[in-house]
């Protein structure tokens, strides 16, 4: 079985919904066929335009339909490594749970999310 590693980003000054939205947009660039699931209910989410980021504390982002199917069948098996990202956001922290943060796509993704959250934090500070 694979185990996830938590990547934690401070979002104390950023709207968590904006942070979640930014993560999905980042992942979408790398995984154009991504599929999203509500992390709490497990229900599949609609297309990006209709995802209620403002009401979701966590989501699961799969690389594609096949990855969702494989995770549903075999869970955290080694074959499913780096095909899903678990994202949680609250008032303080954004947490990305990834299998291997050194894997190329995951590394890019983590780097981009950090950049975007840093930019959002700056905007919020300037506005304040």
């Amino acid at each position: 079985m694979i185990s996830g590693e938590d990547i934690i980003v401070d979002v104390s000054i950023v709207d968590p919904a904006v942070a979640l939205d930014a993560v999905v947009r980042c992942v979408w660039r790398h995984w154009p066929d991504l599929v999203t699931q509500d992390g709490e209910s497990g229900s599949r989410l609609p297309d990006y335009a209709s995802i209620p980021f403002g009401r979701l504390p966590e989501l699961l982002i799969y690389r594609d339909e096949e990855s969702l199917s494989n995770w549903t069948k075999s869970g955290a098996s080694p074959a499913n490594a780096n095909t899903m990202v678990h994202v949680l956001a609250d008032a303080q922290w954004l947490t990305l749970v990834v299998d291997d943060p050194q894997e190329a796509v995951m590394q890019s993704l983590i780097d981009e999310v950090r950049q975007i959250i840093a930019e959002q934090s700056l905007r919020a500070r300037w506005a304040a």
């Binding site: 950023v14 904006v18 297309d47 209620p52 403002g54 008032a91 890019s108 981009e112 975007i116 304040a128």
Partner: protein, 182 residues
Amino acid sequence: MGSMSADMQSQEALLKILEEVNIADLFRSPQNRDSLFQTITKFGEEYAQHLGGAKAGLPSTASLDDLLTEHARNPYRVHMLLEALAFHCSPEILAMVWMTLLGARIEELSYSYVHEKSSTLEATLLLPDRRTRLSFQSSSHWDAAVMRFASLAKSDGKPVIDGFFPIVIPRKGTAPARPSKS
């Protein structure tokens, strides 16, 4: 009468949203309110006209009621649009911004300026179906304000403008405002 009342309710709801981003006072006068609602109507027309029935992974309309529905789901998206409107962005560029907020990718974005001669913004979007491309062009100087909302990043060292995000505008004379965490 019933329809008129529903329209007025929607307009009132929009005015309340303006308060959330502290720009309600910009639209307090009757003329500015009229202008606001006219711009929202024209924005919806530009959105539909550019989409031309393509849909391509985006909602087919962008009416005032659509904005209110989106506000219940993702308030920051509507905040961003209204902030751009407050900066006098044109209905066409607002339509471009809205498509981006709903998942279109900015493929190209350029701005050129010649002192006292021209100010031109051009954008090409790739819609969520990842096949349909739409182009937008404006020579309205105020549309340059949209660059204030652009979210910049680098992906594997390459430049990315990931989309547009709102500027949080604090309330006048109050403690620094923070986005709602609820």
